[in-house]
Amino acid sequence: MSLKAFHIVFMTASILIALVFGAWATQQYRQSGGLLMLATAAGSLAAAAAMFVYARWFLRKLKHVSYL
């Protein structure tokens, strides 16, 4: 597996953790009602979206590089 392939695996894991963190922050907001948690949840979802866009750009940019 090349660094390109491992990077895609890593970015997928990063997107998932951002979504999990967003869900956790949303749950904390529902319990405590703190606006900081709501902002954290929104930030996490925005980060997940940004990483998804980056991963697509990365794949397009390195399409000539092998996955091995």
Partner: protein, 260 residues
């Protein structure tokens, strides 16, 4: 007499990849077993424990979130360094490597402050239920202001959700005879902190290992670029694979220790 080691740069006819890449994957396989054993121990300890603290109640989620962002960014800069070198941009590649190295150092600095806070934060267990700030408690947490053989002057933490400036938490004097146990939040505090320090400490050692390798490739190891470009690029790729693994371990550690 010079002896050339075969398949350092070009793929081996049997494996289809260069020897260095095969070696780093074998190494990473052994690392998966090491961290896998630790994660398994964590799961067994947690599922069999009568009580287990929630990480977000006793650890700093903001600092851990910052460190997660730092490591994800460092993986991006690592792969950018590799991509720039493949395109023949040596100076840009080195700049990205330097950013990766800096981010790895930032991670360790943040971790240092996180550890430091734990070693200065204490929990006191009383022999019998004791009145503290109008409440009867068996244990309190806070910071030691003064310690003698006969007593400690202890500044309790404010109740959760209250600011320290609220004023209703002044230092209290606790006689040594009242104390059943006194411990800071080091590895000896509880199973949770033993697991926390073992796993994050081992991960931190891997980050230091990455800093040494990236530092070498950025400094004296960079001469290889002028002798054999592809060999240097392969080394950067192998380092990138290691670095991604180290970052991936953190991606698993973060929710396990801090969120759930």
């Amino acid at each position: 007499m010079d002896v050339a080691i075969p398949c350092q740069v070009k793929p081996h006819p049997v494996t289809g990849i260069a020897n260095g890449k095969l070696a780093i994957w074998l190494f990473l396989a052994s690392e998966v077993m090491l961290f896998g054993a630790l994660f398994s121990s964590y799961i067994l300890l947690r599922t069999n424990a009568e009580t287990w603290p929630r990480g977000h109640d006793i650890l700093s989620v903001p600092l851990a979130t910052l460190n997660t962002a730092v490591l994800i960014t460092s993986s991006v800069t690592m792969v950018m360094a590799w991509a720039q070198l493949m395109m023949g941009n040596f100076s840009k590649g080195r700049k990205y490597l330097a950013v990766t190295l800096s981010l790895a150092c930032v991670f360790l600095v943040v971790k240092f402050f996180e550890y430091k806070d734990k070693f200065h934060h204490y929990q006191v267990w009383f022999n019998t239920p004791t009145m503290v700030a109008g409440h009867e408690v068996t244990t309190i947490t806070g910071h030691i202001e003064e310690k003698t053989d006969d007593f400690i002057k202890f500044l309790p933490d404010p109740p959760k959700g209250h600011k320290a400036e609220a004023g209703h938490h002044e230092p209290i004097k606790i006689e040594t005879s009242q104390i059943k146990r006194l411990s800071n939040y080091g590895p000896w505090h509880s199973n949770f902190f033993a697991v926390y320090f073992t796993m994050t400490g081992l991960h931190g050692l891997h980050v230091i290992g990455g800093i040494i390798v990236i530092g070498y490739l950025l400094g004296p190891g960079a001469k290889l670029w002028h002798r054999d470009r592809q060999f240097y690029i392969n080394r950067i790729e192998n380092t990138g694979l290691y670095w991604h693994f180290v970052d991936l371990v953190w991606i698993f550690l973060f929710p396990c220790l801090y969120l759930i």
